[in-house]
């Protein structure tokens, strides 16, 4: 009889979540095996946003691939461009003028803030709260205005060039950024009052979807995911690049490993990024924004190199293998979301559907970045 009861209990069904589903923020598909509302197995099926970036890296010249980098992780486009540009510069031995490095850090950190703001709103939508999205978008629009003035794009910035940046920032940008930093700082208290202190939100995040540091290591999850699990791993500190070692900023770490920890890491990172922007603006040197003598058609010497940057979602890596021509022989793009999503199958086992979707939300996925 007990066997019968068990077989009855184990009656499962398969639910196809996606590729079009409001919770998957794009075209992720998750094959769920559900026992009632408990997840027995959740297998992400990806590739619905595959756009051949790595193939195009081999087909196009180095410079012509630049716009592609902005279209992988389009929510935080600066980082991808930053990683790619730095990798090529490392390979070709180009030194970037100091001012350009500062501008890169300022714009990249602004982009990180914009990306985290978007995430906060989208995550709250996953939890069923609609209003915070509108507030975060309001702030995000301010950043986009600033970035649009210097880069010319609202979303898919293609601003960095080999050896510098393509436009200098002006006084309007600096004044506007200062104003924005002050504005967002004062708004953070509002966000914490609206979201962090909300009792339903806390219930839905605290102790939900714990991810251990060991799982993060085994799967290669980085960024806020690993920092929410108590590991202070940040590429900006671990493998310092650009002007980051000269700036004073903290790496927010929370030990609990649950959804709340990952949320708090991102909220704190917004504040830290604002600090970085402020410091960089203060110390902004004058000078050229492009390195001299960067050939129009870049032909880096034979060899390979790897470059890693801390994107808004984790460690974004570029491996370039050059055969001495104007096109890369192989361009490997290591996207943080890819590894972050791969932990979902293991971590969601036994969770309720709604909680698993909260966990999925905190991984902060950009699907075309996973699929590349």
């Amino acid at each position: 009889m007990s066997i019968e009861a068990q077989t009855l209990h184990r009656e499962t069904f398969i639910l196809n979540l996606g590729p079009q589903h409001p919770a998957t923020h794009g075209v992720l598909r998750i094959k769920l095996t559900l026992d009632g509302e408990y997840i027995e197995n959740a297998e992400p099926v990806i590739g619905y946003g595959h756009r051949m970036h790595e193939k195009m890296g081999e087909n196009r010249t180095y410079a012509k691939f630049l716009p592609n980098t902005a279209r992988m992780d389009y929510v935080a486009a600066m980082f991808n461009t930053h990683g790619y540009v730095c990798a090529i510069e490392r390979l070709a031995g180009i030194t970037v003028p100091e001012r350009a490095d500062f501008i890169r850090v300022i714009t990249a950190e602004l982009n990180r803030v914009a990306s985290h703001l978007l995430w906060v709103g989208a995550f709250l939508i996953d939890l069923g709260g609609f209003t915070p999205l509108l507030y975060t978008f309001d702030d995000r629009e301010q950043i986009l205005d600033l970035l649009e003035a210097v880069t010319g794009a609202r979303l898919t910035f293609c601003y960095y060039r080999f050896g510098g940046v393509c436009n200098d920032i002006d006084d309007d940008f600096i004044a506007g950024t200062r104003k924005f930093v002050a504005r967002l700082r004062s708004r953070m208290a509002m966000y914490h009052a609206l979201i962090t202190k909300n009792v339903i939100f806390r219930r839905r995040c605290e102790n939900i979807g714990p991810i251990s540091a060991e799982i993060c290591r085994k799967y290669g999850a980085t960024g806020p995911v690993i920092r929410g699990s108590g590991v202070a791993y940040d590429v900006r500190k671990a493998e310092p690049y650009s002007i980051y070692p000269r700036l004073d900023f903290n790496v927010p770490v929370y030990d609990q490993g649950d959804c709340m920890a990952r949320y708090l890491v991102r909220m704190d990172e917004i504040v830290e990024s604002l600090r970085i922007v402020e410091q960089a603006l203060e110390r902004l040197p004058s000078g050229p924004i492009m390195a001299e003598k960067v050939p129009r058609i870049l032909k880096p010497p034979k060899g390979d190199c790897y470059f890693n940057v801390e994107s808004a979602r984790g460690s974004f890596g570029v491996r370039v293998i050059s055969d001495g021509t104007d096109k890369a022989y192989r361009l490997k793009l290591r996207s943080p979301c890819f590894s972050n999503l791969s932990i979902f199958q293991e971590c969601s086992r036994g969770m309720l559907l709604a909680d698993a979707l909260a966990l999925l939300g905190t991984l902060d996925l950009v699907i075309p970045d996973i699929d590349r």
Partner: protein
């Protein structure tokens, strides 16, 4: 065959009632849905619908006409009869509930002795409608939502009824008309502040309001429509007016719930200061509550399903029992 005079009048009256109530429900659905789009727009630093007609006032009309002329799709594999019956089973009880609610001393569908009982019996049916609709859809999301709606409504029916039982013990009547009449005068005569009957009365009102939110499946308890989990929940497969009717029923249920809260706790048609009682006071109170419902929806994230059940079984039901016991003791003592 002689048709008696009274019968004719009776039929005409009945028709007028039904038409009036349906019109009231439809009107409320239309303009509450507009409010539902305008109010959050104010919270969210935007305009909301404003281009369709003056101030967007024609927006619900456009939506209504569009939904009416939309193709009705029935999913292959669906139980056609139940699928088509479900919207009716949801909307009819909601309208029936409105029939016994006294809007003012003179305006009201039917003044029956067991009005309170009638509303709760009718309002329980809409659960069945939603459940059948979800089940008949032949869609996994809808099936999950159908299972959810039953669990949720059973859980919240209990504290709701416990609160109402305590109230009936105080008022000694099931007649909604009389319940309002008892609360005549200024606001300290209202049931919500009848502290001599039970000091937990304001809390009882909150329990009632919470349960009403959950019963009408409104956020933060909108488990059956949980967009980020179940696509559109029980209504996933409904298109056109099938969906439109669920939409109207949702707002009709809100109106019923808010009307009941007004009648039971907030003194119905009576003015807070004892002046000029009438329909307007009823409507003001009812729409204020409706606005609160909308406000809650746009301010909070959704609860988890077990959080929702825990809230009811572990918190609201014990509290409602304490309230009930306290009321009984107070009645005996005083």
């Amino acid at each position: 065959m002689i048709i008696s005079h009274e019968l004719v009048i009776g039929v005409v009256r009945l028709t007028l009632y039904v038409v009036g109530l349906i019109a009231f429900a439809a009107f409320n659905a239309a303009y509450l849905s507009l409010l539902e789009r305008k109010a959050p727009a104010w919270f969210q630093l935007r305009y909301g619908p404003k281009e369709v007609g003056p101030f967007g006032l024609l927006q619900p009309v456009a939506d209504g006409i569009k939904l009416l002329t939309k193709q009705l799709l029935v999913q292959e594999g669906a139980d056609v009869l139940l699928f088509k019956l479900a919207p009716v089973m949801v909307i009819v009880p909601a309208i029936m509930c409105l029939a016994v609610i006294p809007f003012s001393e003179t305006i009201g569908g039917r003044n029956i002795n067991l009005g309170l009982l009638a509303t709760f019996s009718f309002s329980a049916i809409h659960v069945l409608g939603t459940m059948l609709g979800g089940w008949a859809s032949y869609n996994k999301y809808a099936s999950i939502a159908a299972a959810r709606v039953v669990a949720q409504n059973i859980a919240y029916e209990i504290p709701l009824l416990l609160v109402v039982v305590a109230l009936v013990m105080v008022t000694h009547t099931f007649n909604l008309h009389e319940i309002v009449a008892q609360q005549a005068g200024a606001f300290w005569h209202w049931n919500i502040l009848r502290l001599q009957a039970s000091p937990l009365m304001p809390l009882a009102f909150l329990i009632f309001f919470t349960c009403m939110l959950a019963e009408s499946n409104r956020a933060p308890f909108d488990m059956i429509e949980a967009e980020s989990e179940l696509v559109a929940g029980a209504f996933t497969e409904y298109s056109g007016m099938g969906f439109g009717i669920f939409f109207i029923a949702e707002y009709a249920n809100i109106v019923v719930g808010c009307s009941l809260a007004t009648v039971l706790f907030l003194g119905g048609w009576h003015c807070p200061f004892g002046l000029l009682p009438g329909l307007h006071w009823f409507l003001i109170k009812m729409y204020a509550l409706c606005f609160a419902v909308i406000w809650v929806r746009w301010s909070f994230p959704r609860t988890q399903f077990y959080g929702l059940l825990n809230l009811s079984w572990k918190f609201l039901i014990p509290l409602a029992f304490i309230h009930l016991a306290l009321t009984a003791v107070m009645l005996k003592l005083v």
